[in-house]
Symmetry: C2
Subunit: 294 residues, 2 copies
Amino acid sequence: MQDATSPAELTSWNYNETGAREAIEAFVRGIENDGVDASERIAVFDNDGTLWSEKPNYFQADFVQYRKNLGQSVTEESMEVYHQAVLDWLQTAKHPTEGCLYTDLIYQPMLELLNYLRAHDFKTYIVSGGGIEFVRPWAEAAYGIPPEQVIGSNVRTAFRDDPPTIVRLPEPQNVAEEPKKLFYEQALFLDDKFGKPVGINAHIGRRPLAAFGNSDGDKQMLQWTTSGPGRRFGLLIHHTDKNREWQYDEPSDEGQLTQGTLDEAAAKGWTVVDMEKDWAHVSPPFPTADGTSV
Amino acid sequence: MQDATSPAELTSWNYNETGAREAIEAFVRGIENDGVDASERIAVFDNDGTLWSEKPNYFQADFVQYRKNLGQSVTEESMEVYHQAVLDWLQTAKHPTEGCLYTDLIYQPMLELLNYLRAHDFKTYIVSGGGIEFVRPWAEAAYGIPPEQVIGSNVRTAFRDDPPTIVRLPEPQNVAEEPKKLFYEQALFLDDKFGKPVGINAHIGRRPLAAFGNSDGDKQMLQWTTSGPGRRFGLLIHHTDKNREWQYDEPSDEGQLTQGTLDEAAAKGWTVVDMEKDWAHVSPPFPTADGTSV
């Protein structure tokens, strides 16, 4: 698993390509020059396709399939047991086509970007369409993001008092049965598309200054972030790099990025990263023939 | 509105009464001696009856009644509008029996306790049975607690994209109509009783080390907090002070504290504050005959 000791500068980002590196640095300089209060410096990051890869399947989908193959039931399960299952899987499971650990497919340029923003007093959050509890157990070691700064989708969760435990639950078969009791539970929530600004508001209670994503699922998060007053920043990563990562936009089962969203990005001044051109390195797990990382 | 400039010591707490002050200080010394990592130092506080008063009605209930009296509708409303309404009300509305501002009824000893814990690297959270968005707009000025560290109940909330806005909504009349769309919304959630550990897990993703409450509604939060491994602390404020504040436990429409919960506190070693004995001062708005604060 990667540590969070990457440089706090955008050393894996190229100058003089699409202008993405220049745009990020200009935004951060602007925030510094404006003297924006540190409490307002909030940056939100999608996870799948933004901080790590999402091909050929969302990595969490592979985990779900792995557990299904083990014959594990979908009844009540404590959060601790679930977290440990995630950690065990990440430490051993191999990516189906790359053969490396899934966490080896974290993007080096994004680790640098996280550190760069933190060095300028930004608080960095993950806002994942994936499960909040799938990301929390390893986000601090991998990204330097503590569990309270991870936002994501959730299954139904409840508290059991004997012994005191938080549990994950299947959806209720009959909501009408005990509707009042359900209000003490977290309901199923999809932290994707229209859900992302809702999840951000629920957890942070402020509109972020900067949002980073890669797909249509991030559009509303960028809309909400960049339409606030003052200096704002929106960025989409376009997966253009078939040699070092994957090349896709529309159509795609994972991280679809449609022309409509790219058009909106152009109209609203969101930065679009061309991964092939803008990133000098992608991540450690893509070695060249002589064993060095590209 | 009070600022957060109270001392970072428990100067409004008496020694040699029930031992509450001694117990708090022993816990914090223990955490320091154990060398517990700062990231794990999380303390959660109920709001009504724990950080400010809750009589003769929960203060938010007075706000809701005030808005009803204005004839305001309960249809879709942006979060910004709601926040401003809360702030306007708090700056002008008078408490029905004390005649002061509601925020004048914040407990001075608890402001000191918040600062004391922060001085020892604790991150302090509010975990309110009241509305998360009712507390957020003023919690930073009043308690030094930023919006992202406020947890509470929520009504249904959703994102609208034209213009990009978070809105508060009445409950859906017919859940079956658009069930999938609802998953992109926050569902009604009661951050009380069994809901408190669920809310804490959803927002923080870790079990706190210390929990502070005053009623049966806080029992599960204390159970979950104090049953974790290592050094833990649970505290209940018993409202025993009919002269300087209010005297109540069971029965009570607000903040009921039953004998069963007091028995559990005794059995589990939770600290029970006797407000009359343990607090040298309650809060600024209870002046003595000569105009000084008691």
